[in-house]
Symmetry: none
Subunit: 227 residues, 2 copies
DNA sequence: GTTTGGTGTTAAAAAGTGTTAAATAAACCA
DNA sequence: TGGTTTATTTAACACTTTTTAACACCAAAC
């Protein structure tokens, strides 16, 4: 998990933040002012992200960020500030902030903003969750197009997989014909619509081992995967 | 410059935003509700970022983001909202927001947040120019065209290496045939396409020592290296 | 009921892909 | 330079995936 440099002069808030982030699985170092923050950064190092209070004794957050950026121009920085002054925000971004959050804030919101940034950096792990579905007795991996039940595995074609993925993402909800067609086929012409009907038939055959599953037609609307 | 999809139901704010962003050099399309936003996204396409109002008629911003993410799971999204409710913020990030901004906001602040996101995306480009890849049990050096596993080393040809490099740079993502052909062969003529198929076969043989790796065909689209 | 358009299904046609091997082109070297 | 090796392209054939066609059926509307 990611290693975070936290600098915050208010000891209460600092400890609170540190405990929260550690509970969420991050490794954190807490510095009590800008100077200590810089010291940690230069001596310990290895941080994946910095969360810096703007108003701190010894060295303010913006100056600290500037110096940190000299050493590592790519490291993500989030500023915390009591002021919601427009000028501060702008200056923060000019120093190269990735985000900026105004006190008082919720821990959860900070966490979400951190995750949004980390997600974009860690391109190595592109949504493994979104590609894995359990439907009835089946397991479906939309990344490798494999549909398995018990110990038998079945390879789906690209179109079969795309369509099944869409149905899984909206299970027990109706997926409109035109949306599916535009998404998977590019446009909702008559022939593409007929082609999609053929694929619905194919998917029904693939899923027939578990009778509790069914792909239901919503007349004139679209299809719905019941499970 | 980047192409932006803007959806905002308030025509005054919408036009204002559009003019501001265009003045800053962005290309923008303005949709007046969620449905039109989705239509633009699916039919026009090619956007680098989406700025979505949360409260809109026809289809709200969160639903729209969800559907947009089905088509492109990596595109940056910024939400605009009148409410500063914590729940809304959290939900926004769960749908995969990159940022979230509360009305009323300053145009300049929006611009800064957009730049912070775009900067982080573009930074990944130089990183991907790196010529050293770890794929499964293999190590691949695109500089020297050498592919090694355990202690045996294998020399690839120029074309083999260029193609494998492209697949590595986009691992677990689809690389379109025409893009690869134009990049490596210069144009996407029929014979070059057949030549590329031959090279895909060669690469599959080179990578066959690690069964967890596979070069998968996305029918009619291109190839994707799974690892 | 009848009409109209949407759906289910199968099969044939068309388009795309996997693979091997021969032909050409490019690089190498005595 | 000419011959040899290596890389790349073209050809050939088998096979897979997707689209189109055909016909039967169903659902809602009149």
């Amino acid at each position: 998990m990611a290693k975070i440099l936290l600098t915050e002069d208010d000891p209460n808030l600092g400890m609170l933040l540190q405990e929260y982030l550690q509970a969420k699985g991050f490794t954190t170092d807490l510095a009590k002012n800008g100077e200590e923050g810089l010291k940690f950064f230069l001596e310990k190092g290895g941080y994946d992200m910095c969360i810096l209070d703007v108003m701190m004794p010894k060295k303010d957050g913006f100056s600290l960020a500037k110096e940190i950026r000299m050493k590592d121009k790519d490291i993500p920085v989030i500023f915390l500030t009591a002021k919601s002054m427009k000028e501060d925000t702008i200056q923060g971004f000019k120093v190269g902030a990735d985000d900026y959050i105004t006190k008082p804030f919720s821990m959860e919101e900070l966490l979400m903003r951190m995750k949004a940034i980390l997600r974009r950096i860690n391109k190595q792990e592109p949504d493994t969750q979104i590609n894995n579905f359990k439907i009835g007795a089946y397991e479906f991996d939309a990344q490798t197009n494999s549909l398995s039940i018990n110990d038998s595995q079945n390879k789906l074609t690209t179109k079969e997989s795309e369509l099944l993925k869409l149905l899984c993402q909206n299970k027990n909800q109706s997926v409109s014909r035109s949306f599916a067609l535009k998404l998977i086929w590019g446009d909702d012409s008559y022939f593409n619509a007929r082609s999609m009907d053929v694929y619905i038939t194919k998917l029904r055959k693939h899923l027939k081992e578990d009778p509790s599953l069914q792909i239901m037609n919503m007349h004139g609307e679209g299809f719905k995967l019941i499970c």
